[in-house]
Amino acid sequence: MNKLNFLQPDKNNLYTYLYTGVILIALSIFIVFLNSFFNKDIISFLPGSISFFLPIILGFIGLHLIRIDYSGLKFLDSINKNINTNNFNAFLSLLIVFVVIKSLPPLLSWFIIDANIAGDSKDVCTGSGACWTYIKIWFNRFMYGMYPNAEQWRINLSFIALAFLGCIGFFATEKFKKYLTLYYVVVYPIIAFFFIFFFISGGPIFFDFSYGIIAAVISIIIGFFIPSKFKMYYFIIVPITLYILLKYVFFYEELIELGKLEALEWVETGAWGGLSLTFIVSFFCLIFCFPIGLFLSLGRRSDFPIIKYFSIGMIEFWRGVPLITVLFMSSVMFPMFLPEDMFIDKLVRVIIAISLFEAAYVAEVIRGGLQALPRGQYDAAKSLGMGYWKMHILVILPQALKLVIPGIANTFLALVKDTPLIFVVGLLEIVGMLNLAKTNPEWLGFAMEGYVFASVLFFIICYAMSKYSYNLEQKYKTER
């Protein structure tokens, strides 16, 4: 039966069609290319609408001519399979290619060719492109907020130290692998807390930080000689005891003297800001919201009615309100609930608010994982004589958490993306700093550059996080 095959190649006359088609496509792309990069319209002799549509018509005919089911030419087949399966697809592909070619020159000129980065004042930005000088001058502020310039090494040092301590898990030998969970759940957050709150804020309480570090080091050294049976309790009790001893008994007098002589300058949390504050807030909320969410999700599945309904109430309440009202609550309503002489730092209030908020989402995600486990797992654990906690820690949670890695990663991503909202209470992380810099009378009119800069930063952070979570997911994937 003769199929109507209008202007379609077959095996015999393939090359005739192929050459004609390729020439037509090349011509159409060439016209658009000249038009957008060199601003030359070589088909301007044609009437208006035809010269506008000509490239797409030429390209369309070209793609139509080279469409063949199977030609044996690898390149042609892959083009036909991927972008040229039918007329509609061919049209859309051409449209995308043309739009990309058309939008490249303005983008390139804005980002690179007409942009300025030299100099250190607004006057150098005369071109029509972006003014990266603005970013360069304000870079410090965007990264550290109002933190004094001379003290910024403290933030850098803390982040480097925390990143290093966080990487320990990758280098741990088999012998220490079993302590890693303990390390990441208990020891690491405490060290991080010391660094952020005592090292970055500085002041007299810096010595608390040194006590903490000394206590931690001594307890780790002693820890090697303790039988492993008691290690769990040991690592919780001994550092705290040592810390209290150091603080109140041993070096008290001497260090008071030292504190008078020389201490790190006190920087109040109101002056923190920029990208470093984004990291600090996300980091702490991340650490806090996970255990809270875990307990809420266990509570929601508990047999005890009071605990169950309390958990349900907490979860549904935090999930039902927008974060901005939670922050409003923490800034204007929460102080009303405290005694008049009691004052909680703004940053701490924000961290508590965001942690509780995100904990509710984490709880729902984990509950999904718990529900996905077959009943047999619970029954098997119970039949081995395990109690509630033993069953959950050894059998249920390792499996459930593995299942919900993508969900938890999404919640954490949402957390990082929610941090700019802390502008509500007057803390300025990077987006807040951008808005502040934008209104500076000497640097008016560079809003675009700032937002593009922040978008790129956030994109890199969030994209890296999502790729990492995808890798984790693949790594822990088990066939059921």
């Binding site: 005890f304 605990i307 309390f310 309440f317 929610d418």
Partner: protein, 381 residues
């Protein structure tokens, strides 16, 4: 045995009661010191502040309750606009993600990855402070299609001037109700006699004919009012007539719909991919046409997967619309938890009302979703 069960519960209860008691005791003392008494009576007082953009008539002489309504309506307006556009963009991008055309597929993927990895607040700021500020002044604006004016001061669109609008609305409601009845009847008929009724064409016909009848016999009359440029001062121009959509609303709706669309696109993709290939093949093998396969086999199953997470995204969009406060779009949070709170100083009452509003919205939607999920769940034997 029993002690082990009761003790943790009692402890939890005790802690909760203690914390609440501590908070309310302090709140009482604090409010006494500031000379405010707890109560919602202030809602009927005169508000004496103005709102820039409102759907209902409002000025300083109205009550705080009316200010609350203005904020609530503005929140609903931006959420509805956002939901409509997010759904359209999301479905298109989600389908594009499934396309076998490499270029379309990649373009959609780039869009999704890009827009969902940038904080929503940053996107709102970008549209409001950077992109929309680059628009021309009213006097330099070229009209789109002769009637739309996109300027730095907002988007001016023609307005309809209605006579007897209520009759027109009644006619549409009547059409919808009769369509519902026809659908029920058609379903019954098909179940009993196996005869299909052309429901779709009847519905479209009803939706067209009843409003036209209302124009012909109901005394309904509509005319279009096109915005006209008007000089205020030497260099100040504005448009008169028509509807003005403020730039805050536009940038908020744009950011919300572009951001939420990425999530909806992923829901759509997951839903269509979730229908197993065997279903399609089985449907084709019993002789259904490709359109019928899509309509009768793929979509009903895909929708079951798509709708619950998409509703969640709608809810998120509504909650995210509270970011309006950052660019001074007068939504519930800005009008009520911002301006009204500053004026009255009644933090507890106002924040609690605001939270309860959002909470009741979320809980009612999640109750509806639970009901819906139960209804559409596959009944396994």
């Amino acid at each position: 045995m029993n002690i082990k069960k009761i003790l943790p519960q009692l402890l939890t209860l005790l802690v909760v009661i203690l914390v609440f008691g501590f908070f309310s005791y302090n709140a009482q003392i604090n409010m006494e010191n500031r000379g405010i008494t707890f109560g919602y009576g202030f809602l009927s007082q005169e508000s004496s502040f103005d709102v820039q953009f409102s759907l209902i008539e409002y000025d300083g002489s109205h009550s705080y309750f009316r200010a609350y309504l203005v904020g609530l309506l503005n929140t609903i307006l931006v959420s509805v606009i956002g939901i409509i556009f997010a759904t359209i963009i999301g479905v298109v991008v989600g389908i594009a993600r499934l396309s076998n055309n490499y270029l379309i597929n990649r373009t959609a993927a780039v869009y999704v990855e890009f827009f969902r990895n940038i904080p929503l607040l940053l996107q709102i700021f970008f549209w409001y402070f950077a992109a929309l500020r680059a628009l021309p002044l009213p006097q330099d604006t070229e009209p789109m299609f002769g009637v739309f004016f996109l300027t730095i001061k907002g988007f001016f669109v023609p307005a309809f001037v209605w006579n007897n609008l209520d009759v027109f609305i009644y006619s549409i409601i009547a059409a919808i109700i009769s369509i519902i009845f026809i659908r029920i009847y058609a379903k019954k008929k098909q179940e009993n006699e196996g005869i299909q009724t052309p429901v779709l064409s009847i519905s479209i016909g009803l939706l067209l004919i009843l409003p036209i009848l209302s124009f012909l016999f109901g005394g309904v009359d509509a005319s279009v009012e096109i915005p006209v440029i008007k000089q205020l001062s030497q260099s100040g121009f504005t448009f008169e007539g028509g509807i003005k959509l403020p730039p805050e609303l536009i940038s908020l709706a744009l950011a919300l719909s572009l951001y939420t669309a990425t999530f909806i696109a992923e829901c759509v993709r997951a839903g269509v991919q979730g229908v197993s290939k065997g279903q399609k093949e089985a449907a084709a093998s019993i002789g259904l046409t490709p359109n019928q396969v899509l309509k009768l086999v793929i979509m009903p199953q895909a929708l079951r997967i798509i709708i619950p997470p998409t509703t969640n995204q709608y809810l998120n969009l509504t909650k995210n619309s509270s970011l309006a406060a950052a660019i001074a779009y007068p939504d519930l949070v800005l009008v009520f938890a911002g301006t009204a709170l500053m004026q009255t100083g009644r933090a507890i009452e106002i924040v609690s009302i605001t939270m309860l509003t959002y909470l009741s919205l979320s809980i009612s939607i999640s109750i509806f979703m639970n009901w819906y999920n139960k209804k559409i769940a596959i009944k396994e034997k």
